[in-house]
């Protein structure tokens, strides 16, 4: 449940055991736990009083219900404060829990009932009730540890002095230890001192984990959120597919079909003239031959737009080199891949590059562009930069929007940076296939 990659350094295991007690983060975490205890105590009283009031007045029709809803709302409010605290001190972002929302104009009674029934609200109230005692216990253990350290390391040697200060006796009693026992006491004290920083860290982690567990959205909420995100990205991918299919259909109907019709028409006309005017028939056949070759070229370019064969056969580097060879502006290509990406990743990377280059060729009036692909940081990152006039925006239904949809279909992202005056940078990030 608890994961640490996003947390601040201060919660991770320390490098030096000996420097633990004087490391700044030990004291920062101590302060954090102290804050949690102080705030937690105040919050505990607030929630307990609110709940007690609600319980006490539950026999007054309506009032008890109102107070109970108010107590739960208060817990939610305080839970928000704790989420922010955990975010700030431990660097752990917790998404808000899904709490009842009053529909505008909905009946107040209904909103109240929603709060009463909300598992999340009760969870937040429970958090406030559990947290303060837990924090108090942790702080108590820490105080005990420090007490032991002070007693064993400082008070024991002081007791040897004939004029031992008075406070030493209420820290450690009246006895004086023998030399051997004193050394043992010193070593024990030192060991406890070194134990304190990891202990503090462990308590801080527990503090954070408790918040993560109880303040955030529950499993269902997380799943609901994930499902809606996936639904959206699938819709985008389908849109992108639709736009693409529409484009292919247009290219076939407006480019190839008329040419082939024209070829057939010319051949038929030539046949009709074969006998009476062979020269004209020959000219028609020559024209038909030319148009047939043009239709073939059209088909080839459409097929390349659907899926370039070279991509499968020889990989991204070769496919991109072929792509930029046909670009109207010079494009410098650099490909840095530690391994060959997956089939899908390759295709999406290729189309990201192709669309970005097509765009800059159409709109940017650039004189030079660079295309960079690498997987050094993990995901496949495609970057296309040009020195054109900038001002590119993602418009719905446009090429860039289609590209964003296509990327979103593989959980990737597209970002376009294009200040007026340029330069324009289009970056597509394609996560690894798992």
């Amino acid at each position: 449940m608890v994961s640490w990659p996003g947390t601040m350094r201060r919660l991770r295991p320390a490098a030096g055991v000996l420097t633990g007690p004087i490391a700044a983060r030990t004291w920062v975490l101590t302060a954090s736990l102290g804050l949690s205890l102080v705030a937690g105590t105040i919050f505990w009283f607030a929630v307990v009083i609110a709940l007690a009031l609600a319980a006490a007045l539950s026999w007054v029709v309506g009032v008890g219900a109102i107070l109970l809803a108010a107590a739960l709302r208060l817990s939610a409010l305080l839970g928000g404060a704790d989420r922010r605290r955990i975010g700030r001190w431990y660097g752990i972002a917790i998404a808000p829990a899904r709490l009842p929302v009053r529909e505008s104009g909905g009946p107040l009674i209904q909103a109240q009932r929603d709060w009463h029934r909300s598992a999340a609200a009760w969870r937040l109230a429970r958090y406030q009730l559990i947290r303060a005692p837990a924090c108090a216990a942790a702080i108590f253990v820490l105080v005990l540890c420090w007490w032991t350290v002070i007693a064993l390391l400082f008070v024991v040697p002081l007791r040897r002095q004939p004029t031992a200060p008075a406070f030493t006796s209420w820290v450690f009693g009246h006895g004086v230890l023998g030399a051997g026992a004193e050394v043992a006491a010193g070593l024990t004290g030192f060991a406890v001192l070194l134990l304190i920083p990891p202990l503090i860290r462990a308590f801080a982690r527990l503090d954070a984990a408790l918040g993560q567990r109880m303040l955030g959205p529950d499993r269902t909420d997380i799943l609901v959120g994930e499902v809606s995100r996936l639904t959206q990205s699938r819709a985008l991918a389908i849109d992108a597919g639709d736009i693409e299919r529409h484009r292919i259909e247009r290219n076939l109907h407006d480019g190839v079909q008329p040419r082939l019709v024209s070829v057939a028409m010319q051949i038929d006309r030539a046949r009709a003239r074969m006998d009476r005017d062979p020269a004209a028939a020959g000219e028609l056949l020559r024209q038909a031959h030319f148009d047939a070759k043009e239709a073939l070229a059209d088909l080839r370019s459409i097929a390349r737009g659907i899926h370039p064969a070279i991509l499968d056969e020889r990989g991204l580097d070769a496919a991109l080199s072929a792509l930029v060879a046909g670009a109207p502006v010079p494009v410098a290509v650099s490909v840095r891949l530690s391994r060959r990406p997956g089939h899908n990743q390759e295709a999406v990377a290729y189309f990201t590059a192709a669309e970005a280059i097509a765009n800059l060729a159409k709109h940017a009036s650039a004189s030079h562009a660079t295309l960079h692909i690498s997987d050094e940081s993990g995901p496949l990152v495609v970057t296309v930069t040009d020195d054109g006039r900038g001002g590119a925006v993602v418009t719905p239904g446009g090429g860039l929007a289609g590209l964003a949809g296509r990327l979103s279909g593989v959980d990737g992202t597209l970002s376009v940076e294009s200040p007026p005056g340029g330069p324009t940078t289009v970056t597509g990030v394609i996560p690894c296939e798992s």
């Binding site: 109907h253 038929d268 006309r269």
Partner: protein, 213 residues
């Protein structure tokens, strides 16, 4: 008159029509120019591409419908890239006289294409065989269409495409009398009133086919 945005086809059709002693009075690339050219020149026939600038959706069809309502004497042949029943239905709703709906591919068979054009110019009908085939194919199983013999279905298709009895006889290589017998049998099986005027007959068949679906 030809309205087609693709230069290659526009020029190609013009050339093949001139070959076949048609008189091409205008060849225009969009619907607006088509309407003003028709108003100015009143051609016998306008050949219109469905999809033209600016939106490349169905402006050709819109223009064709407008021509038919404003200048009923002008024959119209609409060329479409693919079979779109909705287009055919809209175009043939009401009067089918002087109307045609053909796939662009038909241009390739020059003789048949020009024959269809002449038929429409003379007030007949030309419906693409593909459209008719789709309409026939969608007939309900067990419905009256299934009671037709293979020959009768052939004849029905040709009637729907706009052929007259004599050209049906020519196409199927039978006597005109035989065709008339088939037609009478079809009309009886489909429970349609007998009618000799060919455009009424086409209309009846088409509406029957549409309703059958």
């Amino acid at each position: 008159m030809i309205a087609e945005d693709n230069v290659l086809l526009r020029e190609g059709i013009s050339a093949l029509l001139r070959d076949d002693s048609f008189d091409v009075v205008a060849a225009v690339p969009d619907a607006a120019q088509l309407l003003s050219a028709v108003a100015a020149l009143m051609p016998d026939l306008a050949i219109v591409d469905v999809r033209m600038p600016p939106t490349h959706s169905d402006e050709g069809l819109r223009a064709a419908l407008e021509i038919r309502s404003r200048w009923p004497v002008v024959g119209i042949v609409v060329l479409s890239q693919y079979v779109e029943e909705r287009y055919a239905t809209e175009l043939l709703a009401g009067d089918t006289r002087g109307t045609g709906y053909l796939l662009k591919d038909r241009v390739a068979d020059v003789a048949e294409f020009t024959a269809s054009l002449r038929r429409v110019a003379e007030g007949g009908t030309a419906l693409d065989p593909e459209v008719v085939r789709q309409l026939l194919a969608r007939g309900r199983p067990g419905g009256p269409l299934t009671r037709l013999t293979a020959r009768e279905r052939e004849v029905l298709s040709l009637i729907a495409e706009g052929y007259s009895n004599s050209s049906i006889a020519e196409t199927l290589v039978v006597s005109t009398g035989a065709v008339e017998k088939h037609v009478a049998s079809i009309l009886a099986k489909l429970e349609l009133p007998p009618d000799d005027r060919s455009h009424r007959r086409v209309l009846a068949m088409l509406s029957y086919l549409r309703d059958a679906n």
